[in-house]
Assembly symmetry: C2
Homo-oligomer: 194 residues x 2
Amino acid sequence: MSNKHHPASTRDAIIAAADALFYQQGVASTSFADIAAQVHISRGNFYHHFRSKDEILDAVIALRTDRTRGMLAAWAAEAPDAGARLRRFARMLVQNRDAIQRYGCPVGTLCSELARHAHPARDGAAMILELFRNWLRAQFEALGHGQDADALALHLLVRSQGIAALAHAFHDEDLIHREIALVEDWLDSLHTHS
Amino acid sequence: MSNKHHPASTRDAIIAAADALFYQQGVASTSFADIAAQVHISRGNFYHHFRSKDEILDAVIALRTDRTRGMLAAWAAEAPDAGARLRRFARMLVQNRDAIQRYGCPVGTLCSELARHAHPARDGAAMILELFRNWLRAQFEALGHGQDADALALHLLVRSQGIAALAHAFHDEDLIHREIALVEDWLDSLHTHS
DNA sequence: GTCTATAAGAAGATAGAC
DNA sequence: GTCTATCTTCTTATAGAC
């Protein structure tokens, strides 16, 4: 499972390519041939590293989970207080606006696809969303909204997912700027209340 | 295109079955065999009514467009004023909470799937979302928010799509109740301002 | 560890009988 | 208008040589 000893191994290259393609094309419509073409290996070589496509998906979800944990930890280390951390989260959508407008939210679209097919990896994908939820809740708690912290965290996730969904559907990057500005206003209004 | 003379024709049965299956399973992972099983026809019979799968999708989008137009017109006829109409829109999510929690928003998930693959029918699906946007904008204009009407309409769509996405991902019906209550509070606050 | 060759099945689509 | 039979292509997966 670890890639400590083989940082550039074929296995890791497969996971990295699958990670990108699953995001851009969806899991179901990404074939082994697609991944193989990117990694420059043959289709047969796949089954030396993974037993099935679902096993690749599991590895991709594990990768994204780790990456998300790392990102949230980095935000917590960079930003001095909870208010700044919440704003850092909001800025993520502006930062990734090009990819979001093209392919949607990586977490949201994966959860949507897996939830609709009651896929075994469904809960693993939802777990990534939960990581954000828990991290956001902790920031709202630090801001003094102990009682409503989880509701506020979910509300912020709702708006983020909605912004990504509409930016994707309308192919409209500018929508992200405008709606995130409203989110920042809302965060400011919470801060003054506490 | 019209179904006036053949209300229960095979063609209409195909469209109705495809409409449901495209929603529940997605377009790409719904096969001719799936639809044929529901309609109780053979796979070959398909091509007497449609030349390709994309043509079925076009018919489904046309059906949904008509249905949406009818629903919005009915809401406008039922609700006395713009404020009541906006609340009627918000209630739609509560009303459809079971399906939304299972399969997501029918419009949002279709737009997301087609946008990611740059599908020819992409704009047709986004058009349904535009119908909601235009209808909502008209209500905000009637409420006296002429300048901001479109931004307010988009904001309401953002929250609706986000609510549907999270209810689907977390399999959480209750989230819809709580977030729609917040939407209603927001609508109330707009009314008193005007 | 990587390859070629190939199986086994599902998909969209066609031809032609009835 | 509906069917069966068939074609082609794509997909996942396996077997075995190197």
